[in-house]
Amino acid sequence: MSKVQIKMTVNGQAVEDQVEPRCLLIHFLREQLNITGPHIGCETSHCGACTVDLNGMSVKSCTVFAVQADGAEVLTIEGMAEADGTLSAIQEGFMQEHGLQCGYCTPGMITRVYRLLQENANPSDEEIRLGLSGNLCRCTGYQNIVKAVRYAAEKINAQREAAE
């Protein structure tokens, strides 16, 4: 099959390359762009390790063809830290609250939490758990992940109030 030219913006950088139409977005990111933060976990759209932000939506990049993301804005874990390298409030929350152990699910978790907090600045514990129901973690038992999200929400809201 002939390749198709696609372009998108990944973590603020314009990228352009040729892909086979059957190339999945996760493979395009990892193998062609060398963006290896989003992980391949289950490859069956269950685990959420491959979650990236695509045009303002959290998506499982193992279940999107790269050609479907032509022209899109993509954000991955690599784009989460501040410009000067300091961790984002969400990343800091996962560190401070021990929201990870092996770390395999963490890029997907953090990328999902980024969108969740954009849509709901003050989620309840239940909303956090439902909001993360597409991301599996086999280490933490989720308790500390919920705490990490709460930490991040409080910090982001405090910063917002201070700025106003």
Binding site: T44, S45, K60, T63, V64, L116, G134
Partner: protein
């Protein structure tokens, strides 16, 4: 898990998409959100040679009320459906149902049209569409036609949609203000398909049931419109005896498979429990219930 090779097409209009379907016949396949199709392609259970993407097709993403009906474009995602204030106000069972589907990431991509049209008996919206008396608008080479949701499903993955037709929108008669509703779904975990589920929409006047509609998910090779079960409630006060009869009639039409969600007998039993719970919740929500709400 790499899908087989295919050529990718991005039509801009419904007519272009229909023409591509006609041109490629059995080797062509529509893709909407892709969250049912891409997993099938990875397993090589689906090996289309031509993938026709609907995401750039104009006119498939509206949510409107016109002529006493809610018209929902086929490419509206479950996430957009949940976020629609019009639908939350006029037909809240849609939101209640969409929130039980899969997980947030899947709901950003998965479309309402794909959920109703692909014919998977595990999908939740088809039974809700039967419960609401929805019509599916199909476009083919000879123009448009509509098919009732209650007539649409022939068997698992076999529907009244012809191979060269596209579902463009769903038309739902706006339920009367004050109707009671519920979608009750038993699942093994968040995001799972139903072990069994029941959709109920009803209206009451001074505590008596004036109309009732019931449909069932994942307890047969198609969604099941439980017409007799709904009729058993009409004219009653939805008391224990009437609900018991509705449950019995609903169970009678189930033909579930025995699978990892449980043996057939159990799933038939659960279907009845879901009907009873959904009726109770719908009655509690309806205007005109006996306690004067």
């Amino acid at each position: 898990l790499i899908p087989g090779p295919f050529e990718y097409h991005q039509p801009g209009t419904v007519d272009e998409a229909v023409a591509l379907l006609g041109q490629y016949g059995d080797t062509g396949q529509l893709i909407a959100g892709g969250h049912s199709l891409i997993p099938m392609m990875k397993l090589r259970l689906a090996v289309p040679e031509h993938l026709i993407d609907l995401r750039r097709v104009e006119g498939l993403t509206g949510i409107e009320e016109e002529g006493g009906a809610l018209v929902i474009g086929a490419m509206i995602t479950q996430h957009e459906l949940i976020g629609s204030s019009l639908l939350s106000e006029k037909c809240p069972i849609l939101r209640e149902t969409a929130e039980t589907i899969a997980d947030p990431q899947v709901r950003y991509c998965g479309t309402f049209g794909g959920n109703v049209a692909n014919g998977d008996p595990g999908n939740d919206m088809p039974a809700v569409m039967q419960c609401l008396g929805a019509e599916y608008l199909l476009h083919g080479p000879n123009g448009a036609r509509s098919v009732a949701a209650r007539e649409f499903y022939d068997a698992a993955y076999f529907t009244a949609r012809a191979d060269d037709e596209i579902l463009t929108a769903v038309r739902i008669p706006t339920p009367p203000a004050g109707h009671g509703f519920a979608y009750e779904k038993l699942k093994r975990k968040v995001g799972d398909y139903a072990t069994a589920a029941a959709a109920v929409v009803l209206t009451l006047e001074t505590g008596a049931c004036v109309s009732a509609s019931i449909a069932l998910t994942n307890v047969g090779s198609t969604p099941l419109y439980a017409e007799a079960a709904g009729q058993a409630l009409v004219g009653t006060r939805c008391d224990g005896e009437a609900v018991g009869e509705a449950v019995r009639l609903a169970r009678e039409i189930t033909e579930p498979a025995s699978d990892m969600r449980g043996p057939a007998d159990y799933r038939t039993h659960v279907a009845g429990v879901m009907v009873a719970r959904a009726v109770a919740r719908a009655v509690g929500r309806a205007a005109g219930s006996a306690d004067g709400k």
